[in-house]
Amino acid sequence: MLIKLSGGKVYDPANSVNGEVRDVYVDGGKIVSPDYGARVDKEYDLKGRVIMAGAIDPHTHIGGGKVTIARTLMPEDHQMDEVAHTELTRAGTGHALPSTMITGYRYAEMGYTAGFEPAVLPANARQAHMELGDTPMIDKGGFVMLGSDDFILRLISEKKDFELIKDYVAWTMRAAQAIAVKIVNPGGISAFKFNQRKLDLDERHPYYDLTPRDIVVTLARALIELGVTHPVHVHGCNLGIPGNVESTLATIRAADGLPLHLTHIQFHSYGTEGDRHFSSGAARIAELLNKNPNVSIDVGQVLFGQTCTASGDSMRLYAGAKHADPKRWVVMDIECDAGCGIVPFRYRDKSFVHALQWAIGLETFLLCEDPWRIFLTTDHPNGAPFFCYPHLIRLLMDRGFRQDMMQKVNPDALKYSSLPTLNREYSLYEIAILTRAGPARSLGLKDRGHLGPGASADITVYFDKADREAMFTKPELVFKNGELIVRDGKVIKVVQGATHVSRPEYDKAIEKPLKEYFDRYHTMRMENFKLSDDEIIEGGRGEIVVQPTKARTQ
């Protein structure tokens, strides 16, 4: 069936289309360029509307053990946002930690057609994929966590053959069905288990003969040589500590030209100036970032209200637990593999610290020159729940609105940030890069995030409203694989998205030392550790899309 979306203004940065009035054609779930005179079966008249590819969230904690522990920890978060079932949709709960079905519906209703869970513990990958499997509407995928697991720490500290390290990384990606690799507080989660409370980039691990720098550089290089498109996704050292801007700058320099993605950089951009010894380091980060085209970032913007922080960073979340609001929190040491921390949090606009965090995030957005290397995230739910994205987009696009908001926050905080001096306003084209084209390119989703022929027909149609928050809150139409799934901001058809993975090559011989390791130390057999394709797709839970990797190199 040939569908024509006619007369809309198209923003498709991957194909350099900037607001041109164009017709978009869809057939068989794909964007097509039909033969002249082909019969159109269904036409949507979209004059005056804005058309973009479906949005992609490259970093959102929506599935896996710690998210469900957070959900269970916070019943009061759901009680104010309980959602009844309809003929079409399942019941569930929302707000900061929405249940899986509600997560899928709400992303789609906001024009998103993909979301990536960035912290899949290998030991918990099966559950993460079960939760993502119960998240309808959107495509998804996971980044597997490495860098505090004892196997890799042993490989690196014992200076094992680099090919073996690459085999292990690729094997783990396959076992956990991941599309990318993430490091959380490199070595720090492991160090915390040895009662170390802080681990800076060049500090020696308390047990293994290595430093966080070694871990970052090793994994950055391993992923490049494995041909994985998304560079190593780094949640750096010293999350949330005033002065951590130094270790963030040092991490960028440590990459020394190797591709690197620094995630929720806002939480890692803190200086120590002023009476409170807490100030913005965003300008210094942006300056170095602008000079290092090998580095991309996402922001992890803070927005005000109740949320719950949830991270693999057990070390830093334990340190932050004294700020829990409400006063309950969870920290876990997990399987000689990783860890997690869950600390409820309420960001208050009148708080000096929270207002400064808010300002630092916005500063980062406004100071980074290349929109292809910065992605729009709140690190859901850590900085704010994902449903706040439209508000954030308006803050970026509307200087007057931003100034109004600045009037409401702690005025002292703004003295330690350059935010009040920044006049930049993002364009729709740039927003389309931040929320579609950039993440798709970075993650290596070859047929998502753009509207060129051959792309999956994931399309969002907005009314072109001056109030950008209203515009992005409620799209008029959302298509997933060419099917209309949302109309006027409401789900009208429930579909199941795909799971994206990438599968770099590895030598199967890695299973010999791994099996021995599992048998000696683990409580799970290596054979059962690996997650099969069937486990992900059985029961009508979508398909697996294997995204291409480049050839492995040495």
């Binding site: 469900t68 079932h85 876990m332 399987e335 593999d337 000696r520 409580t523 057999r525 059985e538």
Partner: protein, 471 residues
């Protein structure tokens, strides 16, 4: 039914087969290193089985057919009859839920669609933990982490060996661990009398210490430990701690005092050497406090079903407090065992699909959570609800509470029902009759269950889906 209940092709299954790396679904540890042979419909555990595994895998396969009011019928007729009952019900109760992840998913789906209530048969124990999670939080470890890292295990009021036959073998007394160069020996402390300590042995075990107190008093002993860790001089307090672990130092006067339980007779003042807390000397508690502080990585172990006394959640809360206190200077974590019959999977799937760990009512169309109100045991006792659908696929002992309500049972053949339900549908055991997934007691790892081709019984998930489709 889908093609997945491979049992349907039973005619073609080989007469005998050998299975390796089999996950045992009969306790929350989910040991996955079993070797099992099948001859016809008889399974035999060849390697790595505990008593519970042998009992579960090797139990007699009873003949079972779908029944309506005690009469054998076709599966489709049973489904039709059951769907009729659900359609008539105003507030159906979906209980038991002793099934795998897919079974819980299907149960939540039909409970949502039919505006029912959903709760697990073993929730009572699990909520001893969940109440603490939802009020206090905690610091926890997992099986592999504890196995490799712990130099001190404190077993709290729980007969871990009896409940989990391989806990000591696999976690505590392991021949190897990852950090032997740091601490190769382990101390095991049992708090509570009459616990089976026999499995805490072998070259890895340094000392085994028991602090004998009545099992329902472990909270008091821990409360004293907590007090000593916080530097409180217990002599300054009135001696009586009640069973809840709350220090009842305040005077009980006025008319309300009549409503309170009688205070224990105060012990005669004594020196710290001889002062005891429920049979455990303060000196021993102080010694334990020192051990805890000096441990590199201590693990406090309990099983919620082991703490089977009123208000046991307050004991779990003290465990959480003690662990949090110790983490100020060293590393310590809790490790909760239990988790049998899919109870952890129930809370996990409930958690991700509704935000709540079951005990959820969909009566208004929205999920509403109340850990007291939506206990199906309580609801049946107080004659709430008008239909019970009970799911029990693992142990034949998970039977519905007594009720006069119309009852539908999706059960393992041989389920020890006390009376004939209106509809009985025999279903397979995940990990024997079909494949599946369960979440382990530590709430992190989930394991695949194999289809051992024992019997051509349908999956509970598929029966529930068929029921929902028939509504």
């Amino acid at each position: 039914m889908t093609a997945r209940d491979e049992g349907a092709g039973l005619g073609e299954r080989p007469t005998s087969e050998l299975y390796e790396n089999v996950t045992c679904p009969f306790c929350g540890l989910l040991c996955d290193d079993l070797e099992i042979s099948r001859t016809g419909s008889t399974l035999k555990v060849l390697k790595n089985g505990c008593g519970r595994a042998h009992g579960g895998f090797e139990r007699t396969l009873h003949d079972a057919q779908p029944m309506v009011k005690g009469k054998a019928v076709e599966l489709s007729q049973a489904i039709e009859a059951a769907a009729g009952l659900i359609k008539k019900a105003q507030l159906p109760l979906f209980g038991g839920i002793a099934t795998d992840v897919d079974g819980v998913r299907a149960a939540l789906s039909i409970a949502d669609r039919s505006c029912g209530v959903i709760d697990h048969a073993l929730s009572e124990g699990q909520f001893r933990n969940l109440k603490v999670l939802q009020s206090n939080g905690w610091i926890m470890s997992t099986l592999t982490e504890a196995r490799n890292r712990a130099d001190l295990f404190i077993i709290v009021g729980t007969d871990a060996h009896k409940l989990h036959g391989r806990f000591f073998e696999r976690i505590v007394c392991t021949p190897e661990s990852m950090f032997e160069d740091m601490s190769s020996k382990r101390t095991v402390v049992f708090i509570g009398e009459g616990l089976d300590t026999s499995a805490a042995m072998g070259p890895r075990i340094d000392e085994v210490i028991t602090l004998p107190c009545k099992l329902d008093k472990v909270g008091e002993v821990l409360a004293a430990l907590r007090a000593r860790l916080r530097g409180t001089d217990l002599k300054a307090l009135e001696p009586a701690n009640d069973a809840t672990g709350m220090v009842s130092g305040s005077k009980r006067t006025g008319f309300l005092s009549n409503l309170l339980p009688k205070q224990r007779t105060a012990k005669t003042p004594s020196s710290p050497r001889t002062q005891t807390i429920d049979g455990v000397s303060l000196a021993d508690i102080d010694a334990l406090a020192e051990r805890c502080k000096n441990a590199r990585y201590g693990v406090m172990v309990w099983a919620p079903p082991g703490l089977n006394f009123p208000n046991a959640d307050l004991t779990v809360q003290i465990i959480s407090d003690v662990v949090k206190n110790l983490n100020v200077t060293t590393r310590f974590a809790g490790l909760s065992l239990g988790g049998n019959d899919g109870v952890v999977s129930g809370a996990a799937v409930g958690g991700w699909q509704t935000g709540y760990p079951l005990r959820v009512s969909y009566a208004t169309g929205k999920p509403e959570y109340d850990s007291y109100r939506y206990s199906i045991g309580r609801m049946l006792a107080e004659k709430e609800g008008d239909l019970l659908l009970w799911i029990a696929t693992f142990s034949p002992d998970i039977v519905p509470p007594e009720t006069n309500l119309p009852t539908i049972v999706l059960g393992t053949p041989g389920l020890k029902l006390k009376k004939t339900p209106d509809v009985f549908i025999p279903v397979g055991t995940p990990g024997m009759d079909h494949a599946g997934i369960l979440v382990r007691c530590d709430n992190v790892v989930s394991l695949p269950l194999k289809n051992l081709n024992r019997a051509p019984l349908p999956r509970a998930a598929d029966v529930l889906a068929a029921l929902e489709a028939a509504l």
